[in-house]
């Protein structure tokens, strides 16, 4: 945990929980790149979903207009957040729901745990939720003697495999069908020992495994995709029906949601429920969407709670160049198109939020100075594919560059001595400030050629430039610079002949 300034709300208060990478991204990525099975699985999966997404997005003649409306709506939400939160609370409460506010991960975990204990149970069923992943709820509940059963198929694979999610939509994307079968055989009680790796049979095994849990659970924990301020309505978007089970059958429902999930009004769903399914699973609509407003007598949970979570969101909001990262609707389209994510996988990003959005969201929530999160904004080639795919037009490359700047500035604050990068930049400033200076520097080119040797390649550069030659050689520099050549080649004819001798 870092940067907490309790009682001084004028300074940003950062978030904690599962938002940190504990080793720098380049080191983590280097290790993950060695996992060739994972790379093959990811390549297959990301390409499948990319093609599906392009097909269903291409069907809509007004896709760009929907994106414009989505982006503008979210910008309005952020600009009017206090009023919308008050409006939502008023409406949700009027319909029998109970709202709790949580400043950080720890406070949210305590609230949820206390609510479960009130129901005198030690088991809860869970529908996939990024917010509860972020705050580490399952681990906390386990310490409190409460078992949380993940019911989304991919979350179940991750939980049974004692693994970590690597994608926000498909947390087990790094596992192929055979690996999933092996996890089920090893970890699922009463599983058919003849289970094959056919996805349909694997899904059936999960159904059998979870059915009793659903039908007997007293308490469910969920996240929420959207919250409508003008009616106090919550929405969960899902595919398998595990969400419906959790949201319908237990007597008590506890939802954990970030404060940025609000939408002003019902009609905003007409935009977001077109943008989200097509961007995330590449379907025209996800199989099931559930909407509920507080308590409905005789239908569904009668004990309905909502935990509104800050955990660094207000700090991200305070960054005027980075705040649009909060517009994210967790579709994962940016991951599926990212050349870096496709190769390193989600684990290399350390945080609950991987991929391009994670590379900006994690450091915005925790502060750039927190642990190794300053390495995340560099996990990108700035190609811009994520920006093109984003349904709410978050300019991820621009925020990445902004956060790199923050990182460099924060290092300058803490270090007395100038870094290698500072020295290089100073050098570049000198070299490019006049033609004479650059010409002087270019006199050194033959030295480079000498260093390259007979193979005419430089295999290792010194200092921070070493990163450049880690996986590629630099061809030997020419004997003379372009400027020298030009000068000589464009001399009057007589002089040239003289020179060429």
């Amino acid at each position: 945990m870092s940067g907490v300034f309790m009682g001084m709300p004028s300074l940003p208060v950062f978030g904690d929980g599962n938002l940190h990478i504990d080793e720098p991204f380049p080191a983590a990525a280097h290790r993950e790149l060695g996992n060739t099975q994972m790379r093959a699985n990811l390549r297959h999966a990301t390409h499948t979903i990319r093609d599906k997404r392009l097909k269903v997005v291409g069907e809509l003649p007004d896709w760009e207009e929907l994106r414009d409306a989505g982006a503008a709506t979210k910008n309005q939400v952020m600009a009017n957040l206090p009023a919308l939160l008050e409006e939502f609370e008023k409406n949700f409460t009027a319909r029998g729901g109970i709202i709790h506010w949580a400043r950080d991960a720890d406070e949210a975990n305590r609230i949820v745990s206390d609510l479960i204990k009130e129901q005198e149970t030690t088991e809860v069923v869970k529908v996939k939720s990024m917010a509860t992943q972020e705050i580490g709820l399952n681990e906390y509940l386990e310490e409190q003697g409460i078992s949380a059963f993940e019911t989304d198929l991919a979350e179940l694979i991750v939980q049974l495999g004692h693994d970590k999610p690597s994608h926000i939509l498909v947390p087990a994307i790094h596992k192929n069908r055979t690996e999933v079968r092996d996890i089920f055989l090893a970890e699922m009680p009463n599983v058919d020992p003849n289970l094959t790796d056919e996805p349909r049979l694997l899904a059936m095994a999960a159904r059998e495994h979870l059915r009793r849990k659903f039908l007997s659970a007293k308490v469910a924990v969920s996240g929420a995709n959207f919250a409508l301020a003008d009616s106090g309505t919550l929405a969960v978007v899902e595919s398998e029906g595990n969400g419906r089970m959790c949201l319908t059958l237990p007597e008590t429902l506890i939802t954990v949601m970030g404060i940025e999930k609000l939408l002003p009004a019902k009609e905003d769903l007409e935009v977001f429920m077109q943008l989200l399914p097509r961007s995330s699973t590449g379907e025209r609509m996800n199989p099931y969407t559930s909407l509920w407003t507080g308590v409905t007598e005789g239908d569904g949970p009668q004990n309905v709670h909502l935990v509104m979570l800050d955990n660094g969101r207000t700090a991200a909001l305070a960054d005027k160049y980075g705040r649009t990262a909060l517009n994210c609707i967790r579709c994962s389209a940016c991951m599926n198109v990212c050349p870096v994510y496709e190769r390193t996988g989600g684990h290399a990003y350390g945080s609950t939020y991987p991929g391009p959005i994670g590379a900006i969201l994690s450091p915005l929530l925790t502060g750039i100075k927190s642990e190794e999160n300053s390495s995340l904004p560099y996990a990108s080639s700035l190609c811009g594919a994520c920006y093109d795919a984003c349904p709410v037009k978050i300019n991820i490359p621009e925020i990445l560059v902004h956060l790199r700047g923050e990182d460099v500035d924060s290092r300058r604050e803490t270090k007395k001595l100038p870094s290698q990068m500072d020295l290089m930049m100073k050098g570049a400033q000198w070299a490019f400030s006049s033609g004479k200076n650059l010409g002087l520097l270019e006199k050194g080119l033959p030295l480079g050629k000498l260093a390259a040797g007979r193979e005419k390649k430089i295999k290792r550069l010194p200092g921070i430039a070493a990163g450049w030659t880690q996986s590629r050689d630099i061809p030997a520099p020419p004997a003379q610079s372009f400027r020298d050549w030009w000068k000589k080649d464009h001399q009057p004819a007589a002089a040239t002949t003289e020179q060429e001798k």
Binding site: P9, R103, K266, R284, Y288, T296, G300
Partner: protein, 212 residues
């Protein structure tokens, strides 16, 4: 300071640059003049793509079609507000297969779990995305009855079909418990390949009724 007060105060100081947001441009399609025959065709195409079974019938054929779809069910549940005429062939008087869920006399979860099928009507359908909306009114029942049985037979009156989501939302009472259904339950969690049938009903039969 309470957690709420503190969070709101953090937001206020985060927004001290007073960002102003542009008005929301709503240039996307909000109306459609697609003729009814094409609406039906589009909805059928989308539902079949999700691996739902679809019948398109005249209202005179509805009772017989329901009977056909429910013929293999050893038991089925209906909500209390279901149109009795619809059941005239599937569940003639005293049909022991029929279980009615009524406020004040609701079926328990084990009972729903041991019921093969469920018959409901629906509130509104969106052709472009193949989505059927249930709103929990009398002919659709509370959410649990269309969730626990493994086979859902759903009636879609043609008058409730629209082309676009923006046309459907004004027809929904947002404060009712709503379930939007687009095909039988499915997952894409293993290698992002879609597999139909996980926890929700694995079989979805849709009956689109002309003249209703």
């Amino acid at each position: 300071m309470s957690a709420k007060e503190e969070i709101l105060s953090r937001i206020t100081s985060a927004l001290r640059d007073a960002p102003t947001a542009e008005p929301i441009p709503r240039e996307y399609r909000t109306t459609s003049d697609m003729p009814q025959a094409e609406l039906i065709e589009l909805l059928v195409d989308r539902l079949e793509d999700y691996k739902a079974h679809v019948d398109v019938v005249d209202s005179a054929r509805l009772a017989a079609t329901i009977a056909e779809r429910l013929k293999d069910a050893t038991s089925f549940v209906v909500p209390h507000g279901i149109n009795e005429d619809w059941l005239s062939e599937a569940a003639p008087a005293n049909d022991a297969r029929r279980r009615t869920d009524t406020p004040g006399a609701v079926l328990g979860i084990p009972e729903l779990d041991s019921t093969d099928a469920v018959l409901t009507s629906s509130a509104v359908s969106i052709a472009e995305s193949g989505t059927i909306v249930l709103d929990g009114t009398g002919d659709q029942g509370r959410r649990a009855i269309s969730l626990v049985p493994d086979h859902h037979v759903c009636v879609v009156p043609v008058s409730t079909i629209v082309r676009l989501l923006p046309e459907a939302l004004p027809r929904m009472d947002i404060t009712r418990p709503l379930t939007w259904i687009s095909g039988p339950s499915a997952t894409s969690d293993i290698e992002l390949e879609r597999v139909e049938g996980v926890h929700g009903p694995r079989r979805l039969d849709v009956i689109i009724v002309k003249g209703l």
